[in-house]
Symmetry: C2
């Protein structure tokens, strides 16, 4: 039986780019199934007063260089810095909630991130939104209406509440066996080793 | 010729425990010389408003579990949580400045951290301070007088200013070739790969 890891993420987190681009290969190499779980990391970060980069230019400058080096280490294309923070963070993630329900979350998210970190086009805005939906074979009008519906508002809120109850405070986060939490792309291998240890 | 990496640290940083316990083995395995550089990370974090854990219980709880798992991964003994933040942070690091000038910084720092993370005795306080100095063959009275002298106050201040000018904002940090900055125990291997790449 395939081992499972819950992958909790928000489109808009910078380091999540590395994870989004690595998961497909890792799934194949390690025999893991990742369960994509979009939520609002922004809401949880605001709740606990966790502001990693905004107003901290020294840390932000380091972050871009660090992500760039890590991407090169993994052989992932990257051109940074990119627009940050995202203006339409919530729309980008509401669409991911729809995508999760309908089964095209990985494809949409990968395209949205690639267009952001390679072509400089921010997710949640056009042309990124249209192109990401098109790459997943989705109609823009239908998804936009769904993404702003009450039902998706509730699902987005519920996902964020579930993340909070798991002790999640950042993106990407990995949850193994429903409770063991790993935070950060640099803990993805730890999460995989953990799930494979039992 | 041995490759050099500047290891910038403050006693009082939690993740720095992992690095302090790993450096000796890595030096031997990789043929690297680490240049121990104590400074006040607390001062730089206050300047930029970087408060990682205080008042953030969800993040702090995760941090202890993460350090514990990482220590187990490396085969390093650990019993956490321990007293944090340190009450006598500055004294612990002033002594490290003296130790650096006199050539026993690694021995003192390793003992101070081991007593903290294995025996629960905080650095900068007795009995940790006396035992750490004794393990390095130093007289407590002489070192206490030196550590609180004007000359060491200046050296501590200068080291912190140098760290600031390198773009350092956290501990542990690694600087390769005088400018390329890596932050965090989890970037130590990246720093080693970087220095060995040229």
């Amino acid at each position: 039986m395939l081992k499972n890891i819950d992958f909790w993420f928000s489109i808009g987190s910078t380091y999540t780019y590395l994870t989004v681009m690595r998961l497909k290969t890792l799934e194949q190499e390690k025999g893991i199934r990742f369960n994509w779980q979009p939520f609002s990391v922004r809401k949880l970060m605001q709740e606990i007063g966790n502001i990693p980069f905004t107003g901290k230019p020294v840390k932000e400058k380091y972050m871009w260089r660090d992500i760039e080096r890590r991407a090169q280490r993994y052989g992932i294309p990257i051109t940074v810095p990119v627009e940050y923070p995202l203006k339409n963070f919530d729309l980008a993630n509401r669409v991911a909630i729809v995508a999760r329900q309908e089964g095209w979350c990985d494809k949409y998210t990968r395209t949205a991130y690639r267009l952001w970190f390679v072509n400089g086009l921010p997710p949640g805005d056009d042309p990124n939104l249209s192109e990401s939906l098109e790459s997943a074979g989705q109609s823009i009008d239908r998804i936009f209406e769904l993404a702003t519906s009450d039902s998706i508002t509730d699902a987005y809120h519920d996902a964020t509440s579930q993340a909070r109850s798991l002790g999640i405070f950042g993106s990407p986060s990995f949850v193994v066996d429903g409770h063991e939490l790993f935070w950060g792309d640099d803990r993805l291998e730890d999460a995989i080793d953990y799930v494979q240890s039992f």
